[in-house]
């Protein structure tokens, strides 16, 4: 089980208490009151309105308005409607959903029930990555408890509302975290994103209207329903309300999870909460939101962690996975690791992504081996530019952005490799 967050707020305040993972413990902490309120006292439209007003943005990386997304679901019940909970958490550097499932599975189920009421969904599929064996077992236990207690099933909390939750374990592919790749995999097919249109709200899981939300997104919902949109807006920034659980990893003294309001400055997270860089070294660069987000150099860490601010520095919040690298880090080596990951994980449908990720990885590796040429650097940027925004899903963008970020801020590292015809970093191991 993962260490509970060092800094907590409403999402994680009870996570240090093992009992909170059980139905009894969750109820003792006030759990399922919001669901009862939503199911017995609010119309779907009212729920959606409150969530819209709260300004909750999806916490899976894209940051889309959750209330708006719910409103895309068709009305009426000609076809069964579904929710899908994206528990694939495949973004390297991200491990917040894991703690939310390990230590607060009922909080997630409560959020799912409220979202189900809002969207008219009859069933939720929780798609959880294959590597998450323990979180999956916690979820399975909580789902069983909920069925036994009448919180799931034909008559949820005696409200007359029916809802089922099905847990589906994936086999561990990055692309299955993309919402339509997830749906394909859920259906038992090869995990590769679907072309859009049609969008999941029209044609989702098994061809039925479906809304896909991230684990953390669901977890915020009971608190919004219980305390109101105004309360929620008391956290975070005006445009990015609420908290999030930042996962900090890499060269820091205290790696782990920290629930902080959106808008908390990145340098505060790195140096205060995560304890700064060990061994008296200096920070070189920080990836702010999971591996696909462009890196920021040491001099640009005074930025509030909210998309409206991060965008000004050409990066994004992503999944809030903060990855810290100290001054001994070879940024070409970083590019090599990242580009290998994306080359390996590309589903291979779209030309730009299939061929571009492989080509970029080969060029970067060649530079790292000391066989790079001066023109390779601009060619990398050109290739990244040609991959961006041209494919079925955002994977190609996710593969292009980190390369663009590394060249934007650490071009000197690349140039030293080319000029010296070898990697200048002593600790850089062989590829």
């Amino acid at each position: 089980m993962l260490q509970a967050p060092y800094v907590t707020s409403y999402l994680s305040e009870h996570f240090a208490d093992d009992a909170y993972g059980t139905l009894e413990g969750y109820r003792a902490a006030g759990g399922y009151k919001a669901a009862r309120k939503a199911l017995t006292g609010m119309s779907p439209a009212e729920i959606i309105e409150v969530v819209k007003e709260s300004g909750l943005q999806g916490r899976g990386g894209a940051g889309f308005s959750t209330g708006l997304k719910w409103s895309f679901m068709p009305e009426g019940d000609e076809k069964p409607k579904y929710l899908a909970c994206n528990a694939d958490e495949s973004e390297p550097g991200s491990f917040k959903d894991r703690i939310l499932m390990e230590r607060g599975p009922h909080q997630l189920l409560e959020g799912i029930l409220i979202a189900a009421r809002a969207t008219g969904a009859r069933t939720t599929f929780i798609y959880i990555r294959g590597e998450y064996a323990f979180p999956a077992s916690q979820l399975e236990r909580a789902v069983a408890e909920a069925y036994d207690a009448g919180i799931l099933g034909k008559n949820v909390l005696k409200s007359g509302f029916a809802h089922d939750v099905v847990i589906q374990r994936g086999a561990g592919a990055y692309i299955c975290g993309e919402e339509t790749g997830l749906l394909e995999s859920l259906e038992g097919k090869k995990g590769q994103p679907r072309k859009k249109p049609p969008f999941p709200a029209q044609y989702g899981a098994f061809g039925m209207p479906t809304t896909v939300n991230n684990v953390e997104t669901f977890c915020h919902v009971p608190h919004i329903i219980a305390n109101g949109a105004e309360w929620f807006r008391g956290f975070g920034t005006e445009k990015s309300p609420g908290t999030t659980i930042f996962g900090v990893s890499g060269h820091v003294n205290r790696p782990g999870l920290f629930e902080l309001p959106l808008g908390t400055r990145l340098d505060e997270i790195v140096f205060e909460h995560a304890g700064g860089v060990p061994n008296g070294r200096k920070v070189k660069g920080v990836i702010p939101g999971g591996m696909s987000m462009p890196i920021l150099p040491a001099g640009l860490l005074d930025v509030p962690m909210a998309n409206e601010h991060l965008r000004e520095r050409k990066t994004m919040l992503g999944t809030g996975g903060v990855m810290v690298m100290d001054e001994t880090t070879c940024m070409v080596r970083v590019a090599s690791v990242i580009s290998y990951f994306f080359r390996d994980e590309s589903c291979g449908q779209c030309t730009q992504c299939r061929e571009g990720t492989g080509w970029i990885n080969k060029i970067v590796d060649r530079i790292e081996r000391g066989a790079g040429e001066a023109e390779d650097l601009d060619m990398l940027l050109d290739l990244a530019g040609k991959m961006e925004g041209q494919t079925i899903c955002a994977f190609a963008d996710a593969a292009a952005w980190p390369i663009q970020g590394l060249l934007r801020h650490f071009r000197a590292d690349f140039e030293r490799h080319v000029q010296g015809r070898k990697c200048p970093f002593a600790e850089s191991f062989e590829l």
């Binding site: 080359r343 994980e345 030309t351 730009q352 080509w359 041209q390």
Partner: protein, 536 residues
């Protein structure tokens, strides 16, 4: 109906279509509106993965793929802007990064979309210094198709074809990213009656047919439009000809007949044209039962004399006519006129039948059964029975389908007749009992029309010229009429004139003329009855 503008072309399009579909519907795709594409195919589901068909849509910040962008009224699309050109060039460069560029030894060269589009939309030279992917070469996917994994650009048309058209699901993309390869499922072969279509829809030289590969460079081939004669469906063909030899059949798109497909059996039936068993000589039967090659004129007068003898002795009632589904409407119309002029009333169509499928293949293994019926040739089984029971003395027989087990099952019954006059394109035991035997042309060797099972009349023209003395059935029958001294029959026989006479004489053919028939054919005025429509 929504109106859209593509560059300077305004189109009224059907609701619910995508931009690429709308352009294709209008017949303008790559024929006025240039939207290059690989994964999209008009008869397969939309894939959206090659990303080559990106266009600029006014009001949308990103480029959109034309294949999957639904049309909206007032939509303005640009296909020639710098952004579009740069995106296309980007796709082309990336597709070539791992392509072996072995065009000099690739069968597809000359009709390769990768080659064509690289020249048209790509950039010169490659910036790649990296080693290319090494993958499997010369893979036997099944009995008909050979696969080169390195040439494959993963458009997945072949995978969708097997999933969606024959529904046999043999192929899939294995692995992912730049390790993706197309393979058959373990233990399976690509083996279905339509398998060779995957080679046609493969835009590159990755999938080639065992039949055609390494035979001839495609730029030596002349493309003659034709119609498959393997069954009553009448699938449209591109006949590939060089040095007076047919080297291949490819399906020619006709949405009313065969979409873009053809069955493997039909595709390989081109081999019958130049086959060793073609009937090449006019033959007559001597009194002692021996066969002899004879001059055409001699055989004609011999046949006329025998017929005249029977007519004068026993009357037309002892002579029957057997029509063939392998002859054209013009041939059969001349036959009809000859029979009528001789007052021969017992005549019918005899054709071999086989299994039909739900896609294209029809039970009737002949291209013009419906034409024969439209010209009054009824079910020939009645005629066959009369021959079998010895109720007739003479027969004019087109083709040798009558020897099939379903009909006479051999030559014995015909051997008992006083007079058998046979016209056929291929050798068979029929010649052993024919008093006069004439070699005739197959549809790929002559002008004419064929009527498919649905009553669609389609045109054929000579793709090759027989290297021996061969005529159309109509020409032989017209000359026979002349030799019999019948009015209105002469040795000169022009299928265009016959077609005109046919369209005037037979109401079902009104308005349908060889000279003016559109490339996709035209339906008969009176479509065949339900019987003709039955698949089996």
């Amino acid at each position: 109906m929504p109106r859209i503008t593509i560059d300077d072309v305004e189109l009224e399009v059907e609701e619910g279509r995508t931009v690429l579909q709308a352009v294709d519907d209008a017949g303008l795709l790559m024929n006025g509106v240039e939207i290059p594409h690989y994964c999209w195919h008009p008869k397969l589901s939309i894939d959206g993965s090659c990303r080559l068909c990106q266009v600029e849509v006014e009001g949308m910040p990103k480029l959109q793929i034309a294949c999957n962008t639904p049309v909206q009224d007032g939509m303005r699309i640009r296909t020639t802007t710098d952004r579009v050109k740069s995106a296309r060039a980007g796709v082309m460069e990336l597709l070539l990064v791992n392509h072996p560029l072995d065009c000099p030894i690739c069968d597809q060269a000359g009709e390769c979309k990768l080659q064509d589009y690289a020249f048209e939309y790509g950039v010169e030279g490659s910036r790649s210094r990296e080693p290319r992917r090494a993958l499997k070469k010369n893979v036997d996917l099944g009995p008909t198709i050979v696969f080169d994994q390195e040439r494959c650009i993963l458009c997945r048309r072949c995978v969708r074809f097997c999933d969606e058209i024959p529904g046999t699901h043999e192929l899939a993309v294995m692995n992912r990213g730049d390790a993706s390869v197309i393979e058959t499922f373990p233990g399976q072969q690509l083996d279905n009656p339509y398998s060779m279509n995957v080679a046609d829809i493969c835009p590159v030289g990755a999938l080639t047919t065992r039949d055609f590969r390494f035979k001839i460079r495609v730029w030596f081939l002349e493309d003659v439009p034709g119609v498959c004669t393997g069954c009553a469906n009448g699938c449209n063909l591109h006949i590939g000809v060089a040095n007076n030899k047919v080297h291949r059949y490819l399906p020619r798109r006709n949405d009313d007949v065969n979409d873009t497909w053809i069955c493997d059996e039909g595709r390989l039936s081109y081999r019958r044209i130049g086959a060793a068993d073609r009937l090449r000589e006019v033959q007559v039967l001597e009194e002692d039962g021996g066969r002899r090659v004879a001059p055409y004129a001699e055989a004609l007068s011999s046949a006329a004399a025998r017929l005249r003898g029977l007519l004068d002795g026993k009357g037309p009632g002892v002579i029957v006519g057997i029509a063939s589904a392998h002859a054209t409407n013009e041939d059969l119309f001349t036959f009809r006129r000859l029979l009528d002029a001789l007052h021969i009333e017992t005549a019918g169509l005899v054709v071999v039948r086989g299994a039909a499928d739900e896609l294209l293949l029809k039970a009737e293994r002949g291209a013009n059964g419906a034409g024969a019926r439209a010209l009054g040739f009824g079910d020939g089984r009645v005629v066959v029975d009369r021959i079998r029971t010895g109720a007739v003395d003479g027969a004019i027989v087109l083709g040798h389908d009558i020897l099939d087990a379903e009909h006479l099952g051999g030559i014995e019954a015909l051997g008992r007749l006083d007079t058998v006059i046979a016209l056929d394109s291929h050798q068979s035991s029929l010649q052993r009992v024919s008093h006069a035997s004439f070699p005739v042309r197959v549809p790929a060797e002559k002008h004419g029309t064929l009527t498919n099972w649905e009553g669609r009349v389609q045109r054929v023209e000579p793709a090759v010229e027989p290297r021996w003395e061969a005529r159309s059935e109509g020409e032989v029958l017209a000359a026979l009429g002349a030799a019999l001294g019948l009015e209105g029959f002469s040795e000169a026989w022009d299928p265009r004139e016959v077609s005109r006479a046919l369209s005037e004489a037979v109401p079902a053919f009104a308005g349908i003329e060889l000279a003016s028939l559109p490339p996709g054919g035209a339906p008969l005025r009176t479509p065949p009855g339900r019987k003709g429509r039955r698949a089996t």
